[in-house]
Symmetry: C2
Subunit: 210 residues, 2 copies
């Protein structure tokens, strides 16, 4: 997961799994409208107004006319599979420090969704994988994100966790730490994966995470 500061401060990296204990923190992490105060082009204070030919308020610069749009971001990751096992990473960064996740992070400019998912898999786990089909597309509307997970076939079991990962290891279905998963999209993706594996058919699952 890149953007460590962003994930901790300005923008929640993910939908956090909500328990009674952390629901308040999760709600506080909702995307913040009106967080643009100054124009990125000229530095003048912006106003929030509805531009001509638009139907939503945007941060507009009264000095230079720049309009600042804010849109959902993509989080891209993989379900790395080795035989009966799936690779998870224990997070060394906030949010959800110490919880388990599939390797994933924000998609960057200059890459496709699959490129980004592969990059995160290398950065977070040091895993060698062959990318397979797009597996889940999960909207996390509350935080303005879309999470896209691809299935990936591990080529060997060599792992080299990066600085954002405490440890990376393989889990059978019975071993998955369901109550220690970092994000609901990880849970949903794993639930789909094990159900589909039993059926022997992997489609592409699209859904929303509340």
């Amino acid at each position: 997961m890149r953007h460590p500061l962003r994930t901790a401060r300005a923008w929640p990296a993910h939908d956090c799994s909500v328990s009674a204990a952390d629901s308040a923190a999760t709600l506080a992490g909702m995307y913040q409208p009106r967080r643009i105060k100054h124009c990125r082009v000229c530095g003048s204070p912006v106003d929030y107004r509805v531009p001509a030919d638009d139907n939503r308020e945007r941060a507009m610069c009264p000095a230079c006319g720049e309009i600042h749009y804010e849109n959902p971001l993509n989080v891209v990751g993989t379900v790395p599979v080795w035989g009966e096992q799936v690779l998870l990473c224990r997070r060394n960064i906030e949010p959800r420090f110490g919880f388990w996740t599939l390797p994933a992070g924000f998609m960057e400019l200059g890459e496709s969704a699959a490129d980004g998912a592969l990059r995160e898999t290398v950065e977070e786990a040091g895993a060698k994988v062959e990318m397979q089909a797009l597996y889940t597309v999960l909207n996390v509307v509350r935080v303005g994100q879309v999470h896209l997970y691809f299935r990936a076939r591990m080529l060997d079991t060599t792992l080299a966790p990066g600085p954002e990962t405490i440890e990376a290891r393989l889990f059978t279905e019975a071993e998955i730490p369901w109550d220690q998963l970092a994000f609901r999209t990880v849970r949903q993706t794993l639930e789909h994966f094990f159900a589909d594996r039993r059926r022997g058919v992997f489609g592409t699952h699209v859904g929303d995470v509340g």
Copy 2:
């Protein structure tokens, strides 16, 4: 399509279909790194540096420490189908004024990809549709976008094009104006659609558009 100024100026709305005549204009429309000059929080001039624990240059504020990330955006739309016909809209805005497109636009905060695709279909064509499955996920790396198209079943043929559309009309496969399509993701999506319809099987297609 919302964000008319953005599409015309700051960020290309789409991958444009490249012909000999417009290839230069298309290349000029590539996403522009280093276009953030001032901090959105405090207005100070930013520096492009690699933050601690990161591996890419970001616009960083030397005064308040804010890090500004720039990431790909999603464009969401539909393939509205009425019997043997597909609905296209003729664009009343740049880029690609006068060319034909499937209804689509930038995904907004507060909506899922399907929500956004439905909204654009209403805004651009005034069409009443029932949303169906996610159909194409096409990376347009050159402009930092991912285009997601959903199939949609038109409920009637009543249309009410919005201000961004010159006209909206139904086309059979033989009538599709292939040389007057606005964007390559529209072309690819339509090509998949007619091929899949002949086979009688609609999957989810993932790919890259150069």
